[in-house]
Every structure is written in C-alpha cells, then in structure tokens.
C-alpha cells in the first residue's frame, strides 16, 4: 500500500491506494473505489436479475446447480433459465426478453468463472 498525493482546486489531498491483480484500489473521503483495467465494461447480469437481452453470463464465479431450459426451448421474459450457487447462496438467472435457447454451454455441477457465457439466446422473430 502507498499514499497517493495530489492537488485539486488548490487543495492538497492524499489517500491510501494499492494495485491488486491489475485493479487500482483507493480509499478517500470515507469511500473505497476500484478502477479496473480492461476493455469497455460488459453488461453484467445481476443475481436474481435479468440477462440484458444478450447471452446469459455468469455474474460471479460459482457452481451451476440447475439448468431449467434446453436448446430449442422458447423462454418468456422473466423465466428462470439457470440456477447458480456461490458462497452458499442460490442465484437465479432469468431471461430478459422473449427468446429461444440457441446453446447451453455449461453443465450442472460445473464451476464457472465470472463472465463465462452459460446460455446463448436467439430471437424468436428472426426465425419466423
């Protein structure tokens, strides 16, 4: 850890900071901030939230405990597609829009990493 020092609007400020695995952490004014390296942030899926219209990605590292849909299934917005477990809690991943399952790229019991694509969708209208 080191202390960052800088000057803003004529005022000297300092804050403890640290780089950990490519992420810069800073604590200042009662808040901690992380600044990440990497390409434009991908839309992340919220636990119990929705898939944002794109493919379903793991919102955290964890284990796939249940896959409720198969390739070719039609899903409605809000349908539970997959259940994951991390830190002893279950998280349900839901479809964000009406769509068809194009591919399931994970297995029940599989340990998946953050951002890994789990289920790919294709829009139903494209088929019609």
């Amino acid at each position: 850890m080191m202390i960052l020092k800088t000057r803003v609007a004529g005022k000297d400020i300092e804050a403890p900071a640290e780089f950990i695995n490519g992420i810069l952490w800073i604590h200042y004014g009662g808040r901690t901030f992380a600044t990440e390296a990497g390409p434009k942030k991908k839309k992340r899926h919220r636990a119990g939230g929705s898939s944002g219209g794109g493919d379903l990605e793991a919102p955290m590292p964890g284990k796939v405990t249940k896959i409720l849909k198969s390739v070719g299934d039609s899903v409605r917005r809000g349908d539970v597609v997959l259940v994951m477990e991390a830190m002893k809690m279950e998280y349900t991943l839901k479809a964000d829009a009406d769509a068809k399952i194009a591919a399931v790229s994970c297995r029940v019991g599989e340990q998946v990493t953050l951002g890994q694509t789990l289920v790919a969708f294709e829009s139903e209208s494209a088929e019609a």
Binding site: F19, N21, G29, P39
Partner: protein, 495 residues
C-alpha cells in the same frame, strides 16, 4: 465432576474460528484448527496451536464431514470440539459422534439439539409449553404435492424453510401459486447442500414483523437464564445484516414476558451452553420462530451491553466450571453489529472474491472488529461471504449509530468489494434511525442495487495519479483470480 480440557479442536473457519481461539488462549487452552485446503490462507490458521487439513474446499467433504472432523480432532490430540456456528454446530449426530470418540462437545447435548434445534420438534415442544407459534405446516410428508397443498391451505404469502437450517439458507418466500414449486425445490436443494438434509417446513409469512431474539444460557448446574434481547430486523433474503442489543422496540413488560418465554423453552429442552430463542414481533404480539442451539454470529452485541464473554462461558460450561455469579445483569448503553460481506452493492450484492490487499480496521474506544482474513489471504467462492464483523458500543442508540457510520467510513478493505456503502445507507435511513424497521426493511427501501455514486473531481484526480504511479502492486499467485494485463480504458467503478 469437572472435566479436564487441555486442547480444543475448532470445527469451523473465518472470524468465528479466531473468536474461539481468543477465548481458548485466555483460558490457557491449546487449539487445533480443522480446516479445508483453501483455508490455509486465514488468520485462524496462523493463530492455532495446531492445524489439521480435513478435506478439500467443498464443505460437504470438509467442514460438513463428521468423520473427517472427528478423525482430525483425534489426530490433533484434542479433548473437546467447538463447532462455532453454521456447518455442524446444530447437528445432533455430530455432537453424539464427538462424545462417542471420547471428546467433549462444546454445546448442548445431542438430545437438546434434537428437541430444540430441529425446527419441527421445537414447535411441538413449544406447543406443549404454551408458547405462541406462527401458523404453518411441519409434517413428515415432504412430497412436492403435499407441500404445495399445504401452501394453499396456509394462504399466501408463505415461507418455506429448511428444518435443519439457519442463516437464511434453504429459506424461500412464496408470494403466489406460480412461485411455489420453484421456491420449494430451491429451498430443498439449498437445505441439502448447506445442512445435509432436504427436509423443509412451511410458515405463514408475517409481513410487518420485527425479528427479536433472546440470548439464553444454561450453566453446568442446569440453571437456564436469559441474557436479554437483540433485534435483527435488518435482513436481506433472510440473512441478517445489522443486529443490535438491546431492541429499540420492546416495552419493559414485553421484554420481561419474552425473556421468560425464552428461558422457559430452553429449560424444557434441558439446555446447556449458549443458545438463542428467536421471535417475530408483530402488532405487539410475539411468536416463537426457532431456537438456535449454538453461538450466534451476533453474540458480540450481547457481550458489549452486558460485559460477558459468551465463548469463554461456553468453554467453562463444557468443563463443568462456574460461569456467571448471582449479580443481576442489566444491559447498559447500546451496541450495534454490522456484517461485512464480500459483495458488490452496486451490482445487486453479487459475491466478490479474490486476493485481499490492505485491510485497515480503525481501532478506537467502544469499537470491536472480528475478522478471519488479512492481507494476502484469498476470499474464495466456496463459503459464506461474511468476511468480518464491525461492532460498536456507546451510551445511547443514536450515538452508537453515529459511531458505526464513522467507523465504517474509516474502514479500508482493498481487493474485494464490500457491502460497507450499503451498510452506511441503512444506518442513515430514517426508519432505521427511528428503530421502526421490520424484516421487510431492505426489500421495501433497497430492493435493487445501490446506484453507483458519481466520482468527485478529487476522486478522479487520485485515480489519475494512481494509474501513473502504480503504487504497491500485489499479484495473486493463483491463476483463477489473475486479471489479464490489458491497457487502461479509463472507466471507474465505485466500490
């Protein structure tokens, strides 16, 4: 007859393992930490007299494996086992196995655990003892059809819970018929994975209730006392986040009545050691929720207002030693505990794992920090996300709230995201400040992710400076968490 204990095995991990080691050290007892493979990077591992690896990361093969724990404790030369909370702490078969192997189980008897800890049996005992209960179904028929029928009978909303559960695991809310099947199956899966039994029961969900619990303690002479109340209404997905002692919601008459009821059911269950009787309080009426036959996560707030050491008291009781004198114990001042979870509040609380960097807990009068991980340790995805507890004490509730906000703002955790910003929002909320919050507080006021705050000019300037300087770089040795070294694209994320 007093039992000689020289070395205590700890069948647990994280901050509670550290808490138990502290108590053992003060009593001159040696410790054996029974740990899983990834938990070699933890404070308890570094503190224990001896360490024995009992299995891989998956808790079913390590922390929940009775045989592995018994073998490990015997190999480590322990004459007693403290189970902490969670894992095997409320498992009667484990308590029995410990005694059968010739060691002392630090906790109630297997018989007490069965009678009080099994939520179904506990309800039967409470019914016999005339304690008020929440309406529900706790039958042996665990078929989906039967459970679905009972849900209809009770009327929505209904809550499905693991019979062997606790800590919000294996617990799901059913608001309408279409939720029922998924909720029941999910609760059964979580119950099996967390507690080794998929048995569930159903309860009418009280939607404007407060969670009030009483600490009880049975000493070695068989006398059971209550050590006053805690309020734990601030919960998310039935997992407590902020607890306090004593509750701001009880009149003296209600406190006396509930305290007597708590001591009564513990006495009926021939309770020995530290336990907790949980109630729901709605419209001035209280209902027994469950009895936890173990130490609670939130035990420190009781310790702070009463000046007791519950873990030492547990160990002394296990040795048949004298614990509390006959002085009347009266709570003084107010204590609050905040659970620090490794999660990102700006992404709806999804778990955050990785290498822990610098951690600074701002010591000061009336502040207490319980933690199990330090700089260089890895927060792994295998276990509960609670990485620390911050506890404060002050003369009054408003002062304790103010002290907690200040303490949290001064706390530094680098490497994983924490719920600290979320805790501060809660502590500042009018309903929390008034003390009128119910168990639906979070759901009502914080249903989604916290909005990420805009970065101030000062924060932006610090980030800019930091990216130029690359201060104190740490890299994880594990490839699982290593991030690809990619060019800076300059987007910020508040933690």
């Amino acid at each position: 007859m007093k039992k000689a204990i020289k070395r205590v095995a700890i069948a647990n991990r994280g901050e509670v393992a550290v808490r138990i080691i502290h108590a053992c050290e003060e009593l001159g007892l040696e410790t054996v930490l029974l740990h899983s493979e990834p938990d070699m990077g933890s404070k308890a591992y570094r503190m224990a007299t001896k360490t024995i690896c009992i299995g891989p990361a998956a808790s079913g093969e390590s922390y929940l494996n009775i045989e592995a724990n018994i073998k490990g404790a015997l190999a480590g030369g322990a004459d007693a086992i403290h189970p902490g909370f969670g894992f095997l702490s409320e498992n009667a078969s484990f308590a029995e196995a410990v005694e059968k192997a010739g060691m002392v189980f630090v906790g109630p008897s297997a018989d007490s655990i069965r009678r009080l800890g099994d939520k179904v049996q506990c309800k039967a005992l409470a019914k016999a003892g005339g304690l008020p209960l929440v309406p529900g179904y706790e039958g042996e028929d665990q078929s989906l059809e039967r459970l679905m029928r009972e849900v209809e009978k009770i009327g929505y909303p209904v809550i499905v819970k693991a019979a062997a559960g606790g800590g919000g695991r294996g617990m799901k809310l059913i608001r309408q018929a279409s939720d029922a099947q998924e909720a029941i199956e999910s609760a059964q899966r979580e119950a099996r994975s967390a507690f080794g039994s998929s048995k569930v029961f159903l309860e009418k969900y009280l939607d404007r209730a407060k969670h009030i619990e009483f600490q009880v303690f049975g000493d070695s002479t068989g006398r059971v006392v209550h050590l006053f109340d805690r309020e734990c209404s601030v919960q998310r997905r039935h997992q407590k986040i902020i607890e306090e002692a004593t509750s701001p919601s009880l009149t003296e008459a209600l406190r006396r009545q509930m305290g007597e009821a708590a001591a009564a059911i513990a006495t009926l269950g021939k309770y020995k050691g530290a336990g907790t009787v949980e109630f729901l309080l709605q419209d001035g009426e209280f209902h027994l929720l469950e009895v936890n036959t173990r130490l609670q996560v939130e035990h420190p707030v009781t310790e702070m207002v009463l000046g007791v050491d519950l873990v030492k008291a547990q160990l002394l009781t296990a040795m048949d030693e004298f614990v509390f004198d006959d002085q009347p114990r009266i709570p003084r001042g107010h204590s609050i505990e905040c659970r620090v979870y490794a999660e990102n509040p700006y992404l709806g609380g999804i778990p955050s794992t990785g290498l822990l960097g610098t951690v600074k807990w701002p010591e000061g009068p009336g502040r207490r920090f319980e933690y199990g991980f330090e700089k260089g340790d890895e927060i792994t995805p295998y276990y509960d996300p609670m990485i620390a507890k911050v506890i404060v004490w002050d003369e009054s509730r408003p002062r304790a709230i103010r002290k907690m906000i200040h303490t949290l703002k001064e706390s530094v955790v680098f490497g994983v995201h924490t719920n600290i910003p979320f805790l501060i929002e809660i502590l500042n909320h009018a309903e929390f400040v008034n003390g009128t919050m119910t168990t639906r507080f979070i759901e009502k006021y914080f249903p989604g992710a916290l909005p990420a705050p805009e970065m101030t000019n000062e924060e932006k300037a610090l980030v800019e400076r930091g990216l130029k300087q690359k201060p104190g770089t740490i890299r994880s040795s594990s490839t699982a968490v290593a991030t690809q070294p990619l060019p800076w694209q300059g987007y910020w994320r508040g933690v």
